[in-house]
């Protein structure tokens, strides 16, 4: 039990020895690894693009096309310029949740990471609101107190949902591994790591895009 509580803490990987030592968390180092992997994959997949796609290019175009359609359906044609951010977010969270398969600690198990992601998402939505409708309308929208409440509850629920799911999956997997070390963890991992990880990435970005759609929509007078 004590062992497990220790596992739940987010650890410090190393300390940068300047300004009295800056601690660098494990989740940060794993994020660098994910960034490296994504950059490498991007280079491999976009290497020698052809007009008529074959092989890996088909795979890439299928994936990006699916994401494009998915977000355009929600946001409408006006949201076209916001697609890259949402797609980056879903790709990063999916990678972060799946990296547990390779023996790393998922960065989303650290509440600071999910809080940062939720914060970025909410700031992005507010920024889109200001860009589309102007700062005056943005300030006016807070005449409705529910909107002020939304500013707090939305990032909180986004953050807690992702963090809780990843942490819950982690705890259950540790318990299963402790109980039956052979065979069963593979099946449990398929559900908790792959299915739940991808589902949570989807839900996070889906909710963000719903909030976006709300910010972009035209009011009727």
């Amino acid at each position: 039990m004590d062992n497990m509580m220790e596992e739940l803490q987010s650890k410090t990987a190393f300390t940068i020895p300047i300004l009295g030592g800056i601690p660098v968390a494990d989740s940060c180092v794993v994020t660098w690894i994910i960034m490296g992997a994504i950059v490498l994959l991007s280079i491999i997949f976009t290497h020698r693009l052809k007009r008529v796609p074959t092989g890996k290019q088909c795979l890439l175009e299928g994936l990006i096309g699916w994401l494009d359609n998915f977000f355009t359906d929600i946001l409408g044609p006006k949201g076209k310029k916001y697609l890259p951010f949402l797609e980056t977010l879903i790709i990063y969270i999916a990678f972060a949740n799946l990296i547990g398969l390779f023996g790393f600690v998922p960065p989303t198990k650290d509440i600071n990471v999910t809080a940062a992601l939720a914060g970025i998402a909410i700031i992005f939505v507010q920024a889109a609101f200001i860009i589309e409708k102007g700062p005056v309308k943005w300030l006016k929208s807070f005449l409705n107190p529910i909107n002020i409440l939304d500013l707090i509850t939305r990032p909180l629920s986004l953050c807690m949902r992702l963090f809780g799911n990843v942490l819950g999956a982690f705890v259950v997997m540790e318990l299963v591994k402790g109980l039956i070390p052979i065979g069963v963890p593979v099946i449990a991992s398929a559900y908790f790591d792959i299915f739940d990880g991808l589902l949570q990435a989807y839900v996070f970005v889906f909710l963000t895009s719903l909030y976006m759609a709300e910010a972009l929509e035209e009011e009727e007078h």
Partner: protein, 72 residues
């Protein structure tokens, strides 16, 4: 110590609500698939999203329970 564990146990009771919620959602989804099999894909997407949202309440309870135990 014992009371703290009890508090954590009560926090985890939120799982009951999530179970009922997901059960109702799944029941309605199967019903609507039986009625309109051609809308299967849309129904499945909506069901998955609804389940993930309903599950969140259980997750909140779990996080609270962990926080309580962590204070021990």
């Amino acid at each position: 110590m014992g009371m703290i564990a009890l508090g954590a146990a009560i926090a985890v009771l939120t799982g009951a609500g999530a179970g009922v919620g997901i059960g109702i959602a799944t029941a309605k989804a199967t019903e609507s698939i039986a009625r309109q099999p051609e809308a299967k894909g849309d129904i499945r997407t909506a069901l998955l999203l609804g389940c993930a949202l309903a599950e969140a309440t259980a997750i909140y309870g779990f996080v609270i329970a962990l926080l309580i135990i962590g204070k021990m």
